[in-house]
C-alpha cells in the first residue's frame, strides 16, 4: 500500500495527465471525436486563463474577481482587429466619434493635470463636468449616426481588417492596460479592495460592450469573424484531403460498390474535415499554452520568481529586505491579466462569433478560480490539469445530471410535474456543485491535486 502511494507521489504529474488523456480518448471513441476535441480545445483555452490567474493568485496571492472582464476585453479586440471596417458608418459618424473621444481624453488629462497642480478642487470639478457634457453631446450624436447605418447587418464601425493573430497580442495589451489602472489604485491598500474593484470593472466592461452598439454591435452580436485555420467546406473540396481520407478508409471502401463508395467517402470527408479543423486549433492552442508554461516556469525559478514568492510568503520580511511590494504586485497583476486577455481573444477566435451575453461571471470568473485551486495554486501544471478536469466536469455534468433525472423519471410514474421542474432547473445545480468543490478543496486539501513544489524557500 505504501509502495503504491510512493509511486503515485513520484509520478503524480504524468499519472494524472495520462488519466485525463485516457478519459478524453474514451469520450472520443464512445461519443464522438468532434466532442472530445471540442472539450480538449476549450480546456486548453481555459488552461491559459487559469495560468494567468495562477500567476496572480498562486505566485503573489492577488485576488482577481474580474477574470470575465479581462477575457471580454480580449474578445472585443478580436472584433476590432479582425473585422473589416464599415466604410459607410465611418463616413457617417466616424469623425464625430473620433472628435468626441478626443475631447473626452483631453478632459480627463486636464482634470488630472489640474488636480496635480493643486488648482482649486471646485474649479477642477467644473472643468471636468463641462468637458464631460461636451463629450457626451457629440458622442451620443455620433453613436446615433453610426448605429443607423444598416443596423441589421452592421450598425457599427467595424474593425481594422488586420490578420486575426494580431488581436491576441492586442487583447493581452488591452487587459494589461485595464489591470494596470485598477492595480495602480487598489494595490497597496487592503486585499479586499482589489477584489471589489476587479468585480466592479468586469461588470462595467460588460455593460459598455452590451450597450454601446456602435462599438462592437452590443447585444446584436458579431458573426463570421475570420479564422486563422482553414474552413471545413474548403477542406472537403480540396483533392489532397479527399485522397488522404480515401487512403485511410481504404479497406472499408473496397467492400462497397462504386456509387456507395462515393457517398461513404463524402460522409467520411465531412467528419474528418471537422476533426481536422479542430486539430488545427488544438495545435495552435498547445503551442501558445506551451510557450506560456515554459516562460512562466522559467520566471518562477529565476531570482525574480524567488522574490515574488518571498513577498507572498512574508510581506514584512521582504519589505525589510528592500523589495518594493506594491510595484511587484502591480507587475504581476498586469502580467496575469494580460494572459487572461490573450485567452479571451483565443476563445472568441475559436468560437468565430462574439456574443456579449455569453460572458457570465460563473462561467468565466468562478470556474477559472475553481480550476486554479483544484489543480494546486502556485503550480502551473496544476492549473492546466485543473482546467482539464473542471471543464470536463462542466461539460459532462449537464448531460449526466439529466441522465440521472431521466433514469429516475423512468422508475417513478407519479410526480411528473416535479421531475419536469428539476429537468428545467438542473443546470443551476452546477453552481452549487462547483461552489462545493471549491470549499471542499480549500478545507481538506488546500494544496490542490498537484501542490506547489518549492513552497518552502
Amino acid at each position: 500500500m505504501n509502495n503504491i502511494k510512493a509511486i503515485w507521489e513520484a509520478n503524480k504529474v504524468i499519472a494524472s495527465f495520462t488519466i485525463m488523456g485516457l478519459i478524453l480518448l474514451f469520450v472520443g471513441m464512445n461519443q464522438s471525436w468532434a466532442l472530445a476535441l471540442g472539450i480538449f480545445n476549450m480546456s486548453l483555452i481555459s488552461a491559459i486563463m487559469a495560468l494567468g490567474v495562477n500567476i496572480q493568485w498562486g505566485y503573489a496571492g492577488l485576488f482577481n474577481v474580474g477574470i470575465m472582464g479581462f477575457a471580454a476585453l480580449g474578445g472585443v479586440s478580436v472584433v476590432l482587429i479582425a473585422q473589416q471596417p464599415v466604410t459607410e458608418a465611418i463616413d457617417a459618424g466616424g469623425m464625430k466619434m473620433f472628435l468626441s473621444l478626443i475631447i473626452g481624453a483631453v478632459t480627463v488629462i486636464t482634470g488630472v493635470l489640474l488636480n496635480r497642480r493643486g488648482v482649486n478642487k471646485w474649479l477642477t470639478a467644473v472643468v471636468v463636468v463641462i468637458g464631460y457634457l461636451i463629450t457626451r453631446y457629440y458622442f451620443s450624436e455620433a453613436a446615433d449616426l453610426i448605429e443607423k447605418v444598416d443596423p441589421a447587418i452592421t450598425g457599427y464601425l467595424g474593425g481594422f481588417g488586420l490578420p486575426i493573430a494580431f488581436s491576441w497580442i492586442v487583447g493581452g495589451l488591452a487587459a494589461a492596460g485595464a489591470a494596470w489602472w485598477i492595480g495602480k489604485i487598489t494595490l497597496g491598500l487592503r486585499t479586499d479592495y482589489l477584489a471589489i474593484a476587479t468585480l466592479g470593472i468586469s461588470e462595467i466592461i460588460l455593460y459598455v460592450i452590451k450597450n454601446e452598439d456602435w462599438f462592437v454591435r452590443g447585444l446584436k452580436n458579431v458573426y463570421g469573424l475570420p479564422r486563422p485555420v482553414p474552413y471545413e467546406v474548403d477542406m472537403q473540396q480540396s483533392e489532397w484531403f479527399q485522397n488522404i481520407i480515401a487512403w485511410l478508409h481504404k479497406s472499408e471502401l473496397q467492400l462497397l460498390t462504386q456509387s456507395e463508395q462515393i457517398d461513404q467517402l463524402g460522409i467520411y470527408v465531412r467528419e474528418a474535415a471537422v476533426v481536422f479543423v479542430k486539430l488545427c486549433y488544438s495545435s495552435l492552442f498547445i503551442a501558445i499554452l506551451g510557450a506560456f508554461i515554459i516562460l512562466s516556469n522559467l520566471a518562477l525559478n529565476s531570482p525574480w520568481g524567488r522574490k515574488v514568492r518571498a513577498i507572498r510568503d512574508n510581506e514584512v520580511a521582504a519589505s525589510a529586505m528592500g523589495k518594493n511590494i506594491k510595484r511587484q504586485h502591480l507587475q504581476i497583476f498586469v502580467i496575469g491579466s494580460a494572459i487572461v486577455g490573450v485567452a479571451g481573444a483565443l476563445l472568441v477566435t475559436y468560437d468565430g462569433i462574439f456574443i456579449p451575453t455569453a460572458y457570465q461571471p460563473l462561467r468565466f470568473t468562478f470556474l477559472i478560480w475553481v480550476m486554479v485551486i483544484l489543480g494546486g495554486s502556485g503550480n502551473n501544471l496544476g492549473s492546466v490539469l485543473g482546467a482539464f478536469i473542471i471543464w470536463f466536469i462542466w461539460i459532462q455534468a449537464g448531460p449526466m445530471g439529466l441522465w440521472v433525472v431521466e433514469m429516475l423519471g423512468n422508475n417513478i410514474q407519479e410526480g411528473g410535474v416535479f421531475l419536469e421542474f428539476i429537468e428545467d432547473r438542473v443546470h443551476y445545480l452546477r453552481l452549487v456543485f462547483m461552489g462545493t468543490i471549491l470549499l471542499l478543496i480549500m478545507r481538506f486539501s488546500p494544496g490542490g491535486i498537484l501542490p506547489e513544489k518549492n513552497k518552502e524557500l
Binding site: T191, A195, G200, I201, Y428, V432, F433, M434, T436
Partner: protein
Amino acid sequence: MSDSIDIINAFALLTNFVILPALSYGSQLALGALAVTLVYSILRFSNFAQGDSMAFGTMLVILISGYMISKGWTITGFPTAILAIPLALVGMSIYLLLMDRLVYRHYRGIKIKQSIVGITASIGVMFITGGIVRFFLGASAQRFGDGERFIFSVREFKAFTGLQQGIALKTSQFLTITLAILLVAFLFYFLQKTKTGKAMRAYSDNKELALLSGIDPDKVVRITWLLVALFTTIAGTLYGLDKGFAPQQYHLLLLPIFASVIVGGIGSPIGAIAGAFLVAFSEIFLTYAYKKFLIYLLPLSMHPNSLVQLIGTEYKYAISFVILIIVLLIKPTGLFKGKVIVDE
C-alpha cells in the same frame, strides 16, 4: 400660471421621481451595507455572498408568502411578504449559522490571513447560495408584492393640492423607510446599551483583549450572524417589493453595497448608512432625465430638446464603482474613519 407654482411643480416632480426613490433605495442599501459591516467588524472579511444572501432571504419570503396567499392567510391591503418575514428570518438564520459552522468556523481556528481566506470562502458560499436560489425560483425576474400599491397615488395628491405634478407614495417605499429607521434604531440601541452589544463592540475593537475579559467568541459570532440574517432578509425583501426580484440583480447589488461600506469607512455602522445614501442619491440624481424639471424652471426660449440626462440608466452600477474609485484615491479610510486601509 405664476412662477412660484412652476417651482413647486418642479420640486414635486423631483420629489416623486428622484428623492423618494433615492430615499427608499438608500435605505435598502444601508441595511445591506450594515450586514457587510457587521461581518467585517466581527469576522474580519468582506462578505462577497451578501448580494446572493439577500436573494436567498427574499426567496424564502417569496415561497412562504406564496403559501400564505394560497391558504388565504392575508391582511387586505397589506403586502403578505412582510407578514412572511418572521418565518423567513428563522430559515435565513439557520442557513447562515449552518454556513458558518460548515465553512467559516474552521478558518477562525487556524492562523491564516483571515481577509483572504474569508473572501475565497465567501465567494464559494456566494455561488452555492446563488445556485440554490436559481434552482428554486429560476433566473428570470418576477414580482411578488400584493396588497395596496400606493399609500396615496399621484391622482389623489393632485386632487388634494391642485398641483400639475403629483407625488405618489408607494407602499413599498413607505415600508422601506419606516422599517429601515426602526432597524437602525434597534441596532444602535443594541450595540450601545445591551451587554451583548457592548461585548460585540469590544470584540471588534480588540479581539485579544475581549477574549481576556471573558467574552465568549462563539456567542459574539452567533449573534452577529443572527443580526446579519435580520438585516439581509429585510433588505432583500424590501428591495424586491420595490423593484421586483431577479437573482442577477441581487448579485450585482454587491457593488453599490461595497461602495457604500467603503465610502462610509469599513467597520463603521454610521459610515455604512451615510455611504449608502450617498451612493443611492448619486445613482438616481445622475441617471434622472431633467428635461421636464427644466421645462418648469426655465423660460420658454431655453427649453431643452434632449433628455438632459447626465448618464444613461444602463450605467447606474458604474456610478457606484466611480464613487468607490474616487474614495480610494482621495480618502481610503472613508468618510467616517474606517478601521484599516492596509492589511493587519
